[in-house]
Symmetry: C2
């Protein structure tokens, strides 16, 4: 057992980090305390590559006992998209025992106040950061992300998003002072004078419903926003991606214990296959906050049915890139090829519809017809993924059979400009690795519109021929308004087109990346600076991260008395 | 037509006020720019008492033409609770014309940015403030409040709440900078560099559904929070309390026009008797925000059905005062008597249940039995209202026949400790003025519990005999949890009881006033300092005013490009 963590220690160690995070969300300049390079780990208590891999290997086939109350069974069954059976089992909870136990420690956690709660959260993130190599393997073998992406997106980038949520939560809670003296003049009479105490109080127990593709990145904002605002958090991972969040819960419980709090403030709700426990938990009266990433259908169900809770959802959307003109044709092609390939297009931010005027596109390399643009893009993707090692490093594995089925069906939707192909993985023969398909659609045809107006999650994109830039802008507007979008991209050298696209994004509340041709991609956002989603279109009802994401996770109770 | 208002003028005139409001919500010390004393008006362009009365009188029997598009009829029919027919008619809107017209000016309003929007709102409030005497009569003759209360609560206090919302809205929008330069080091390679623009964008059209009792005080927070965050606002007043909000809309349209914006950013939706237009408007797709004060039934309906909108509701609650012991018996009685009498108990913050141990209460004047406490309180109310002139000045008129019917039925619920009596009004013979009734209930009896566990809005309070302080605390907890509470009061000299009551309020998110014996009352809150409601119990899903009240009325759209 490590030495107990005192408030003084936590302040000394982590207050500077919290202050830097607070400054970063104010300036939105680049900042991260979590190294992106795998070689940066191995000192100051962090696991290096070999130790991280060993730690992960040691987990395989074991029971991950979190010492939770009400554990009535052990469940598991994750199979890596790379073909490996993880064989880890997790506590299955009797929620009638677990939920009351989670409430027991809430008073002390509330009384700890915003600063100490924030610093305990930073310590949890620090311990997770130290084990980034171990988490990377856990994320890789649940999401199917390639190792480097699992390392970065599942490690430092997820930790950044968690810390960002802690900073927002802290800032929101300290906007109101702890106490105030209120003195109101009464003319010649004595003034009225009151002493007021203000206490941020939690809503209750928060439920985090994790997703398959980004268990940590999409999970940490809600988890840490709720915990930092005084709530207990029950973590219900996706059945295919339990391990990264189970390890997170383990770390959180350790840190809470060491800091003198009840470990049951964070608990895991793993489930049996087909149990569908999220639906049961979501409407329990104890659950007052829900964070969810996943399908529109279940997200809508939660919003409609979990009326006792504040519900934060990230659902499906249809992401568009308008390709109207460019001053860097090769840069555009490379940038788009990377965006379409990364993690086999299995990001909620991956572009799906590329809207290209059928009359072609003006470029620095001369005018390019619609067919030329599509063919050149196909070649760019082919070139990027021509080497199998590089393809494997970029693509990762197909996360589940549904995505594979959609990929295979996509070829029937139109003329295939780039066919998907299988890639063999040198280390994991059972891994399902596929390159993206690009399908040509004529935007003027109704069936094409039906195809491009619904989300086809996975390595599928549509090169949609449109009549004009105006037509593209109008289709973009309709797509965002009706289907939602996590991202929008546009390539144009025409200020009027740029303005028109920007106006649509402002009107429909979508995040826009313009003319990206270098090493930043439309599907990537950086914590502390970029917003992930807007919360203002159907793809998500909240953004990561802003004031609205944290402000309603707690309430402020005032006690006033005469001074 | 007044001279056009420039941004520079607005900054020079109102930026200091905005800055003071921002400082006030941070420190929560006493502050108000709006004078409470009627005699403070009459200079610098404001109407004095005579001019305000004349302006109100001149409105009677007229058509209030707001020059709104889509006006297809003129409707009215307000009858003052003091018996006067106002005879004012208002535009009835064809919403299929009005709503699109309201969207036309949104882009320019969005592009104006948070500061200019805030200062336009401050100018609107300033013009309303100048007409406080006129508004006071409008509030008096729709709500039934006595003149002085209508003047203060409907005037400066409502304006304070509006300004508070403007300050919160402004602060929230400028938390994210307008632009950011983001530069991410890449080791030996060139850094990645992006330029980012962040724009607060409105959700769409906001709907304010006003209430009968506090049209301005309860209406201004939502109206100004929505307008300051870039939304257009459609004001749907209570059919019995149109005039104060119609005048507000008129002022807002004038100021918007003078500042170069589209007046249709604020519009009125008056309705015919029984038209029930709120239900139709609430589910229109253009309506993205709703603020509502009123019955739990309709508030719940809005929350369940207006799914396309952010819904902020203040509904019914059951307010409790625990009377356990006191060091100032007379002060307590006077304070409670005033709280029960003010505006005939027709405040959402008026105490309903007084929980008193059946074994009595320790006081500075010796031990008092339950019966003595109730009798002494009845005497205190009687004394306070013994003089008809003072009674009229405190009580105001009964706002509608439902309240009168509830008051009359209350005497059957238990032993009447203080009977209600009629008071004649010297100026308005038809005014329905009634003193409050106090009914004794035995908390141990099921029918008593049923009575005290439902809201009996109006001049009715229950002196509930409980077994002990512990029993009182437990009933308090149950009442807040099941029925909600806008306010809780407690009188106790016992630190343990105080602690227990405070714990309940922290657990159940209710605002607590302790041992008030002077000139501050449990049913009053001050803008910039006190929260009205908590948003954490069933009485309201939001508090006035905090970050959560404004943060989701807009979204931030980011446009990023390579630097």
């Amino acid at each position: 057992m490590a030495a107990a963590l005192t408030a003084d220690q936590l302040i000394a160690q982590h207050r500077p980090t919290l202050d830097q995070a607070l400054e970063a969300i104010r300036t939105r300049a680049y900042w991260s305390p979590h190294p992106e390079h795998p070689k940066a780990y191995g000192e100051h208590g962090s696991l290096d590559a070999a130790a991280g891999k060993a730690a992960f290997d040691a987990l395989l086939g074991t029971r991950l006992d979190l010492d939770q109350p009400g554990t009535d069974d052990w469940v598991g069954g994750e199979v890596s998209p790379y073909g490996v059976e993880l064989g880890v089992t997790y506590p299955h909870a009797d929620v009638d025992v677990l939920l009351p136990a989670m409430r027991a420690g809430q008073r002390a956690w509330r009384d700890a106040g915003p600063e100490l709660r924030a610093l305990v959260c930073v310590e949890i993130l620090k311990r997770i950061s130290d084990r980034t190599h171990e988490f990377a393997h856990a994320v890789m073998h649940t999401s199917g992300q390639a190792f480097m992406m699992a390392f970065q997106a599942g490690g430092p980038h997820a930790q950044d998003r968690g810390l960002e949520a802690v900073a927002y939560a802290y800032a929101e809670q300290v906007r109101t002072p702890g106490t105030a003296e209120w003195t109101k003049p009464q003319g010649k009479r004595d003034p009225l004078a009151l002493t007021k105490e203000f206490t941020p109080v939690p809503r209750g127990i928060a439920l985090l419903i994790g997703c398959n593709t980004f268990p940590t990145w999409n999970g940490y904002p809600g988890l840490f926003a709720s915990l930092a605002t005084g709530n207990a958090v029950l973590v219900k991972p996706h059945p295919r991606a339990v391990l990264p969040l189970a390890l997170t819960v383990q770390v959180a419980r350790q840190v809470l214990t060491e800091a003198g709090f009840d470990p049951n403030l964070v608990a895991l709700a793993a489930e049996r296959g087909g149990e569908g426990i999220a639906k049961t938990l979501a409407v329990r009266p104890e659950i007052r906050i829900i964070d969810y990433t996943g399908s529109t259908a279940f997200g809508d169900w939660l919003e409609a049915n979990a009326r006792q809770a504040q519900v934060y959802t990230e659902k499906a959307g249809v992401n568009t890139v308008v390709v109207e003109s460019t001053g860097d044709y090769q840069g555009m092609l490379s940038n788009l090829a990377f965006s379409l390939s990364l993690y086999s297009g299995q990001m909620c931010t991956t572009p799906q519809n590329l809207l290209i005027p059928r009359g072609g596109v003006a470029t620095d390399d001369g005018h390019k017809s619609y067919d030329e643009v599509v063919a050149d893009l196909a070649r760019a993707v082919d070139g990027l993924l021509g080497d199998d090692a590089r393809a494997n490093a970029l693509l990762g594995a197909i996360v589940n059979p549904d995505v594979k089925a959609r990929l295979e069906a996509a070829a029937d939707l139109g003329e295939v400009a780039l066919a998907s192909r299988e890639i063999a993985h040198p280390d994991f023969p059972d891994a399902v690795v596929r390159t993206p398909v690009i399908v040509k659609l004529d935007g003027a045809k109704p069936d094409a519109e039906a195809a491009c107006m619904s989300e086809c999650f996975g390595p599928v994109s549509f090169a949609v021929a449109v009549d004009s830039a105006t037509d593209a802008v109008e289709l973009l507007r309709r797509t965002i308004r009706e289907k939602g979008a996590m991202t929008v991209g546009a390539y144009t050298t025409d200020p009027e087109v740029e303005q028109a696209v920007a106006e649509v994004c402002l009107d429909e509340a979508a995040q826009l990346s313009l003319n990206l041709t270098g090493g930043v991609y439309v599907n990537q956002t950086a914590a502390f600076s970029d917003f992930h989603g807007s919360g203002g279109n159907p793809a998500a009802n909240s953004a990561l991260c802003d004031g609205a994401f944290v402000a309603n996770r707690f309430r402020v109770v005032e006690v006033r008395r005469e001074a």
